[in-house]
């Protein structure tokens, strides 16, 4: 049913590494979005193409300052995982934001207290 908007996936996120950051030292964050990343090339049991539904854009910001932005394509595996490095010079708020097909949008925030 390509003419209907597919239901938005219910997503969950896993964000690791925010509580072990050190002040002024780059630290690794490991971020997973639970999302099927339907690549638009598969067929269902009736031969219909399953409409593409992927997350196409990811942005991580620290207090509004860009850390990393990524454009994702269908070749990214399901449940897109991104590990990135952030350097925080003091307490702040990290935001993680995804956009995708059919108006998909998801946002997470984490307060950090680098030691």
């Amino acid at each position: 049913m390509a003419d209907q908007t597919p239901p938005q996936p219910r997503v969950r996120t896993l964000i690791h590494g925010t509580d072990t950051l050190k002040r002024g030292v780059p630290g690794e964050l490991r971020i997973t979005l639970g999302h099927p990343m339907e690549n638009g090339m598969r067929h269902d049991g009736y031969g219909n193409v399953v409409p593409r539904s992927i997350a196409t854009r990811f942005e991580c910001k620290l207090d509004g300052v860009l850390v990393l932005a990524a454009d994702l394509y269908p070749a990214v595996a399901a449940n897109p995982y991104i590990a990135l490095w952030v350097r925080a010079d003091g307490p702040g708020t990290l935001s993680f934001e995804w956009w995708g097909d059919w108006g998909f949008h998801h946002r997470e925030t984490r307060a950090i207290q680098p030691t």
Binding site: P26, A75, R87
Partner: protein, 156 residues
Amino acid sequence: MKHGPDLNRPRRQLLGAAGGLWLALTTRPAAAVSAPETLQAMVRAWAGGRPVTPGRVLLDVPPLVENGNAVPISVRVDSPLTAAEFVQEIVVFNEKNPQRDVVRVRFGPASGRAQVDTRIRLATSQQLVALARLSDGSQWSAHVDVIVTLAACIEP
């Protein structure tokens, strides 16, 4: 209008032109060497006519992949990420996916290290290329051959 060779033109000039053509062909960017044509075309389009040099980019992929549905890749660029010299963009292309793009990454001022890890799909054994554009305009590449034993993108 003449279609044949211009017989009035001196022979020496023609030979010189041929030599110049040979030189232009043999001094292409080294990154394009040994890459499949599909990848070369993507690299050329991304490079925008400027040279791409192998090196400074580290593309870490397991050489033998058992499950093509989630292949961990890691791209790192040898750059201090200061205000004077930073990484503008990292892209990864594959060779055999109908859509060659895998991921395009930009780094911001709050990033501490020009490294990104992710997981990708690979349908079959092929070559991957990671490209990086630095703030000074230089462009760098890394090619990796991957062998996939269980493919992604096959109907379950």
